[in-house]
Symmetry: C2
Amino acid sequence: MSKKERNLYLTNVPLKEAIESYIDGVMPNFKGFETEIVPVSESFGRKTAQPVFAEISAPHYNAAAMDGIAIHSEVSYGATETTPVLLKEEKDYQIINTGTPLKPEHNAVIMIEDVVEIDEETLEIRHAASPWQHVRPVGEDIVKGELILSESHIIRPQDIGALLSGGVHQVEVVKQMTVGIIPTGSEITELMRPLPDGKIIESNSKMFRALLNTYGALGKPYPIVIDDPEQIGKAIAKAVNENDMVVVNAGSSAGTKDYTVDVLREMGTVHTHGVAIKPGKPVILAEINGKPVVGIPGYPVSAYVVFEQIIRPLVYAFREENLPGIETLKAKLVRRIVSSLKHEEFIRVKLGKVDNRWIVTPLNRGAGVTMSLVRADGILRIPQASEGYDKGAEVEVELSRPLETLSNTLVSIGSHDLVMDLLANDLHKYDNNLTLSSAHVGSMGGIISMKQKECHLAPVHLLEEKTGVYNLDYVRKYFPGEKMCLIKLVKRSQGLMVRRGNPKNISALTDLNKKDVMMVNRQKGAGTRILLDHLLKKLDINPELLQGYEREMTTHMSVAAAVKTGTADCGMGVESAAKAMELDFIPVAWEDYDLLIRAEMIETEEIIKLLNVIKGPRFQDQVMKMSGYDCSETGNILAVE
Amino acid sequence: MSKKERNLYLTNVPLKEAIESYIDGVMPNFKGFETEIVPVSESFGRKTAQPVFAEISAPHYNAAAMDGIAIHSEVSYGATETTPVLLKEEKDYQIINTGTPLKPEHNAVIMIEDVVEIDEETLEIRHAASPWQHVRPVGEDIVKGELILSESHIIRPQDIGALLSGGVHQVEVVKQMTVGIIPTGSEITELMRPLPDGKIIESNSKMFRALLNTYGALGKPYPIVIDDPEQIGKAIAKAVNENDMVVVNAGSSAGTKDYTVDVLREMGTVHTHGVAIKPGKPVILAEINGKPVVGIPGYPVSAYVVFEQIIRPLVYAFREENLPGIETLKAKLVRRIVSSLKHEEFIRVKLGKVDNRWIVTPLNRGAGVTMSLVRADGILRIPQASEGYDKGAEVEVELSRPLETLSNTLVSIGSHDLVMDLLANDLHKYDNNLTLSSAHVGSMGGIISMKQKECHLAPVHLLEEKTGVYNLDYVRKYFPGEKMCLIKLVKRSQGLMVRRGNPKNISALTDLNKKDVMMVNRQKGAGTRILLDHLLKKLDINPELLQGYEREMTTHMSVAAAVKTGTADCGMGVESAAKAMELDFIPVAWEDYDLLIRAEMIETEEIIKLLNVIKGPRFQDQVMKMSGYDCSETGNILAVE
């Protein structure tokens, strides 16, 4: 093996410093943007390249500002309530509609409401008209030659109206900034079915294009390039030639196949390789022919963070525009977060408003976990100099969903089941303005969150060993003197998931003891783990002797996935997960999966809507279509005091 | 004349009530939106029509999470600092890069940093590896069958990444809401050159399309329809058939040619005709075939207000989406605003941050003044039940520019000159983040605003009659004991503007006395008015005897426009305005047009930038290209104490 080929030495430049010195380095060589002429009707959102002046006045003639009659003011002189004046059509007045041009001999308009009809051709007025009353004089709105828009102005809808009214039909604008996107990596591919092992679907470049769209820039994707320095170089040369900026994804790290930095060094200048952020550290800030070229790490979350934290400010800086602010929210952290002093860290978090306080729950920090970006309501930024935040700290979160949406969110923290996804979907369909957000921390985690008022709902399935009753005893124990309710959601079948055909011939929990059986477990505090431990104890099986007992997964589906792919032979979980993953299932027990809630919440608008969905046939039909559920008590409410 | 044809009776329904009852009326008949299938890569901003589940797991194989070696954990057992274990390539380990699949016989990865090379084929390790360490198991990110996005979710960049990673390549989305736009009116036209009197350029439909774009809807413009009930009806029928919603502009009012409401009554139901808003009252809320059809008044400002206040909430309501909030700002009102109890009023305002307070200045309230929309920084809403606000009141303004831009704005209030437009443009070019905002209230208005700390700069040209000196005496008089500065901007030539060839043979101010000469004047407090009055006094001319003396315009260009179009024979103004409007000019006096500023401001970053622009050759070159200016003192600073 050849360690020498690896780029082991990444710098650790603080984020702000890295961006500023990069801009300072490249900007003087950056040639700026070309301009183009577009029709005004297509100019929305574009930036003017020149000041724009009115080509005609608006109105360009003297126009009636009211429906009525046009006169010369002199014919009205002397008219009062006691000395009305009679006017003759044609000779003295002309009927006129709003917007119609005045004849040269007229200089005033009297409103139709202020005239009295005497006969077909005669009107009476009782007030004198002053010259130019109810007349829109030429140029009242826009005067020919007047500045309508200054240079470098981003065109809004109202500007389009004014330009057209001012006789301007085309406008010189700055060309939209284009960013070439080069996906690299021998392992990445466009969609193939089936997808061979070792191949990864290329998704980042499409995410980049959408992100650039939100920055008002145009992403231009190039074909995937394999891990070959020469081909990477060719692709970069072409993209630099055709765009204002280029991003190369990935190969920016320090592995044996990470050629990007060497190629960039050869073709131009590498300003920085390695920024003190997590995720996203192995970013490369380079320059070729006076254009910024950025190497971006491959993991989707790292790539996303680098885009939002580095590419976004770069795009605005090169366009010489203010970076728009991001909406933030102050909220209370539900648990301690530890971070290194080495880097600035970006944590995906969920937010919820419970008991009139905003609550922050951190999500999985893995750089590969794309779904954490989907689930996140915002990003919590931990500065480089900070070791993290304590539980209960007030922190500021940058929002990735609108505040309105977050305010209308029911927060569920607790056990995971597929019916919770179904419920979230149906509730959102029932009321588009209401969202159910779930965090999966196991039943005991849900109890604790509810105790600390961090959630509205806690899905739980906790077996009391002595009584064999689900949930009730736990609620009584943890909420003494508090009024709580259990919304009966489903009964579900728990058991052992095994591969199709049951190759290891597993028929009961006692088979976990077999030498050739590798199990996979759920995390501590999960109801399924408590159930398994309870059953093992009853069978007098020492869990420590079971192979794979220490390997913990946090959802039924991830246990099923481990079994499906053979990294385990069996695992405890619900029948619906087994069926979804096309596994065989050995039933072990039925359990009650309920929603714990504070009694005071039951009559809130949100919970009434939730109950409507739970009790409705649509939800229950869908539940019953999955295997291993019983809806006989669904929607019943059990008060616990 | 036939008054009976006019729809005199408009209702006056409060805005909120009108919208709510309209939605309640139409919604039950509204059939909703069709769906379509689009590639995920093109799905940004679209709304899911179905829940979306992962089609494959990600990763779909067990992958190395680090660069290093893949082993079965058993071969590492017993390795410690004192009892290292030797591993042989192929037999015990395989070199592996991040993301590469593990072979079935391996279940752990050791980082390259933790191995020591002994020879080409032998490595030493000093720590035991636990099973599955540094391995990304199947489904770690996304598990096949997992819910990625719920129904009615608006797709964000990160969602696109997750969908593709989950093997989803196309997605069923709700079709974008389309709004048919029908411009009506025999007087409106697409661009014609020259534009005949009585014709107005059709601009609203292009503004509507851009506004709809900001609401995420698609505006579909139809050809202009003349004022003919049959043709209007045909156009509406076609548009209703082809769109989810239709807007008809205009003919919504109560004039003899306003057919829209009758046509709509015949074709469907008119829920409301007349809403208690100003501008925008004669709006029509109708329904045809279960679709909303809205008649919108023709004046651009009314049309804009109706769009933002009525069409915008309708679009979101029919899509069943939360209406996004509009950024607001609390600020101090510089002058009293009177409003009627009859309606809710929407006033265009300018905003500026002066002396650390936000200041609101109302703009022209005319419904026809498109430029007030361009110049506005925001909209001040006066509730129906309110008579308005007092000077100094704290009011809340809905922003129409980003707060960042407003924070970086130099506020100029005072006299108007074309060089101020030039200066605004050049400053914005010099620093894209800096804006110069001008309100034209005359020199004395500028002095008063500066006194009350409502502006940063006040352009003034005020002649002290006794001394013949400009500005200095006024500043001393109005700012006793305060440290002020005058930035010398330009000397400019004032005189009489007359039509080409001077048809009325005007050679001096004394000719204003002639019987056949109609003049046009500037408003009281304008420096030009003060100069004229001063000169008339010296000549012993009684201004009250001059024809047109009472007709007041607020800018040089509007005076020039009045002369150009023959509504006046002459008017006092600057040479540059005469030249811009192709008029002849009779010089009368040179005057000093200076920028008044507080001394403490002179060294601020913004004013240093402004001075750089003023002193630069680009600005002065452009000034000198216009007629009637002298830059010999431009950029000098005169301290006044």
